[in-house]
């Protein structure tokens, strides 16, 4: 409860949270505000913003950009959160095993992690998506698969720090099983930095998905912000609105998540905080 109260007093964190909530609400009410599919061609091609009842204009086929931005929020949030979760599951599992058991297991797992860290994440993501036809599931798994190494290293460090603390040794002496010690004693004490990094991973996941869609490697059946920029970019000199509005949507959402994540970090780890309150 203290943490929640502290967060409520954190100005930039609160700004992030409020903006993020607005994005979530837009995503939720998109089908109510825009009952027609965002793919539907509702106006003449190249309708400028404000004309023909289209607040943000129409795209090259006459599709409503505003509807696209609203539906794109759903895609971005779903992919961002789901792939951050996937990354967290992979990263925490590997980090926990590595940090708890140490020795050769640690050595092998960390070399594997380093292998992943040396390959540029985006290049690997392109390769994976292109190999396994782009769809919602493959994109989530791909982004998860390229985003876990920082989480694994963080978890390992936390586990190394906590591994030999008295409460862990006490639990060992009481004969508790490995799984119980890891899940019941160490993980709860390591969770706050993991949550912070996971929240920031959501932001990078949204950027990755947008970049993939921009390259034409998104799920072609999902209206996403990256796709809209990719499709509108060729005509940016005749029709700026097709790429600028989804671009702003990405900017605002990612910024909000970062502000929220940093606020969370300040509140959960007051000792390492950059800000002294």
């Amino acid at each position: 409860m203290d943490a929640v109260r502290a967060f409520l007093r954190h100005p930039s964190g609160m700004v992030g949270l409020v903006v993020l909530l607005v994005v979530v609400v837009i995503a939720l009410i998109a089908p109510i505000v825009f009952p027609v599919s965002p793919w539907e061609m509702v106006s003449a091609p190249f309708t400028p913003p404000g004309e023909d009842g289209l607040l943000l204009g129409g795209d090259t086929l006459g599709r409503d950009v505003a509807a696209g931005v609203a539906y794109g929020a759903r895609v971005s949030l779903v992919i961002g959160i789901a792939s951050a979760m996937a990354a967290m599951v992979i990263g925490v599992t590997i980090g926990a095993i590595s940090g708890y058991f140490g020795g050769k297991v640690d050595l092998v797992l960390m070399r594997v992690t380093e292998l992943f860290q040396t390959i540029p994440a985006f290049v690997l993501a392109i390769l994976l998506v292109a190999t396994f036809n782009p769809s919602l599931l493959t994109i989530i798994l791909t982004i998860g698969a390229v985003s876990w190494p920082p989480l694994a290293r963080l978890t390992r460090a936390e586990f190394l720090r906590l591994r030999n603390r008295e409460f862990v040794e006490a639990a060992l002496c009481q004969g508790e099983g490995t799984l119980q010690i890891v899940l019941g004693h160490i993980l709860p004490n390591a969770i706050s930095p993991i949550l912070v990094v996971t929240s920031l991973t959501v932001a990078t996941a949204i950027l990755l998905e947008s970049a993939l869609s921009f390259m034409g490697l998104g799920d072609p059946n999902l209206m996403s912000w990256g796709f809209m920029i990719g499709a509108g970019r060729t005509v940016i000199r005749n029709a700026w609105w097709m790429s600028v509005f989804p671009g702003l949507a990405i900017l605002i959402t990612v910024l909000a998540i970062n502000l929220f994540g940093e606020g969370l970090s300040d509140v959960l780890n007051p000792r390492v905080s950059r800000r002294r309150s």
Binding site: W39, M41, G216, P220, N221, R233, T234
Partner: protein, 525 residues
């Protein structure tokens, strides 16, 4: 016109062409033409691959016996003259002397016979149909080729352009697995330009073939085909002069208007007469529900093709009414019309029993988006919305160029978009898509949809061997009526592509083959 008159007309046409190419004043030698190729072709040997980028690039490297003007009349290519026997069965071509391949070896009539009868009949679906009509091909001397046909074939003289009958070197291919020959990478032909370098993902560099047989040709020193996958970058490159020529889908349709206003550039829709590109939504007739005629008719009703022409192609297209392009001579517009009507489409789907489920969904169909630029992507999105209106989910699937060719060629698809050339005569460009004898697995641009109708087969076959134009028109009218009723594929549009080039370059569009032409006569002023 009876057979004798036809033959005389053909002879007169041949005789009217002067030997060799006369040289107009003011043609200077030298200069570099920078242009665009997209997507990157899988290989450059036009005998083995007939996708558009391969033909555009390979057209400079591989030549054939004839060329065709904008009126589709034959002109000398590597053959300087030709004769047709009065019975319409024997075609004798005289080649230009001193033609050499890019490796320095001479090109003789043996190479022509080998290419047409051995290589192309195995690797080139269109050429296979054409040369299957040849009873024997002979090379009585190094400069003479004689084709003897089994029976008269009206458009035989139209089978020798650089895309339909490219000549490959016998000394390289004889006795080998043609498609796997290691020298395919070198692309050795007889054209005015030869391959110097192909940097994958960057550019293909062609340079002058010094041993070219026409005096002073080619005028240009080199042609550089730049691989620019992004359409905005392509438009920018043309605008700022980095490239001086764009063809086919290089420039998106919505940009064409903009280039008309640019003073140093010429925008033309000429140079596509031979091809008359005809586009359709292809449906695999082997798979339910596409195997039902009523479903395919419903597809014709549910696509608003006027809107497609307007929204996706920005007016650079005309609605197609059937299998034959209105731009060719055997076109018959008096066929069943499919107006845009969601209700008629729904009624047909209901009638065949494809009823909506509780969610209003009738079927889910996978649609492979051809990787040929944005207009194909947008057209896919357009189709998906059209199908959604009657409760059919069209799931778009992306792929690369080799993947598309592989899937469609091997019938491993449900729906896609396809575009074929009409090639000046229905017997050359149209029948190949519908006759059951051309259902050939693994071969692109054959009867990939798997349509089969003995009556259609018979009519196409008869029309091809009939020399009387009026009789042919009658046969093709019948075929058009049957096909439009059966809808083997859903014809959408006749596309009108632009060629946009820097006015400093002359002769860019000199024949009905346009940008696929050899470019030997192109010069920079």
């Amino acid at each position: 016109m009876n057979r004798r008159e036809f033959t005389q007309a053909m002879l007169a046409a041949g005789a009217a062409i002067p030997f060799g190419i006369t040289r107009a004043a003011g043609q200077t030698r030298g200069g570099t033409l920078n242009t665009i190729i997209q997507p990157e072709p899988p290989l450059l040997v036009t005998a083995f691959n007939q996708q558009q980028p391969t033909l555009t690039l390979g057209g400079k490297i591989y030549e054939s016996l004839l060329k065709y003007g904008a009126d589709l009349k034959p002109m000398p290519g590597m053959a300087q003259s030709w004769e047709i026997s009065p019975d319409g069965l024997t075609y004798t071509f005289k080649l230009f002397p001193n033609i050499t391949f890019h490796d320095g070896k001479p090109m003789t009539s043996e190479d022509v016979v080998f290419s047409c009868m051995k290589v192309l009949t195995e690797t080139h679906p269109r050429a296979r149909q054409n040369f299957a009509r040849v009873a024997s091909a002979e090379a009585p001397d190094p400069l003479t080729v004689v084709f003897k046909l089994k029976q008269p074939f009206a458009p035989f003289l139209g089978c020798f352009d650089c895309t339909s009958a490219p000549i490959v070197p016998k000394h390289i291919y004889e006795g080998t697995d043609y498609r796997k020959n290691p020298l395919n990478d070198k692309a050795i032909g007889t054209g005015p330009f030869k391959l110097k370098e192909w940097v994958r993902g960057s550019h293909v560099h062609l340079v002058r073939h010094e041993g070219y047989y026409l005096k002073d040709q080619p005028y240009l020193d080199e042609i550089i085909y730049r691989i620019i996958p992004d359409s905005a970058s392509r438009a920018l490159a043309l605008e700022n002069g980095t490239v001086q020529l764009a063809q086919w889908t290089d420039v998106e349709f919505f940009d064409v208007q903009r280039f008309k206003a640019q003073k140093n550039l010429e925008v033309t829709t000429k140079g596509y007469e031979y091809f008359a590109p005809h586009q359709w939504l292809e449906m695999n007739n082997r798979i339910a529900p596409m195997n039902d005629k009523r479903f395919r008719q419903a597809v014709m009703h549910l696509i608003d093709r006027d809107a497609l022409a307007k929204r996706v192609y920005f007016g650079s297209a005309k609605v197609a009414t059937g299998p034959i392009s209105s731009k060719t001579k055997f076109y018959d517009g008096k066929v069943k019309r499919y107006d845009y009507s969601i209700d008629k489409a729904k009624a047909l789907l209901d009638e065949m029993g494809l009823k909506p489920d509780t969610n209003g969904k009738r079927a889910e169909i996978k649609y492979i988006v051809p990787p040929y630029g944005e207009s194909y992507q947008r057209a896919g999105e357009f189709f998906r919305q059209s199908f959604a209106r009657v409760g059919i989910d069209l799931v778009l699937v992306g792929t690369d160029m080799a993947g598309w060719a592989e899937k469609v060629g091997n019938w491993d698809y449900e729906m896609t978009q396809n575009l074929l050339y009409q090639l000046g005569d229905p017997a050359l460009g149209v029948s190949r898509t519908y006759v059951s004898s051309n259902i050939k697995k693994g071969i692109l641009f054959s009867n990939t949809e798997g349509y089969s109708n003995p009556e259609v087969d018979r009519l196409f076959d008869e029309a091809a061997v009939t020399l009387d134009e009026a009789k042919r028109l009658e046969l093709y009218s019948k075929v058009q009526q049957i096909l439009v009723e059966d809808v083997p594929v859903a014809w959408t549009l006749e596309l009108e592509y632009p060629i946009i080039y820097d006015k400093a370059f002359k002769n860019i569009v000199s024949t009905g083959i346009g940008s696929h032409e050899t470019f030997g006569s192109v010069y920079k002023s």
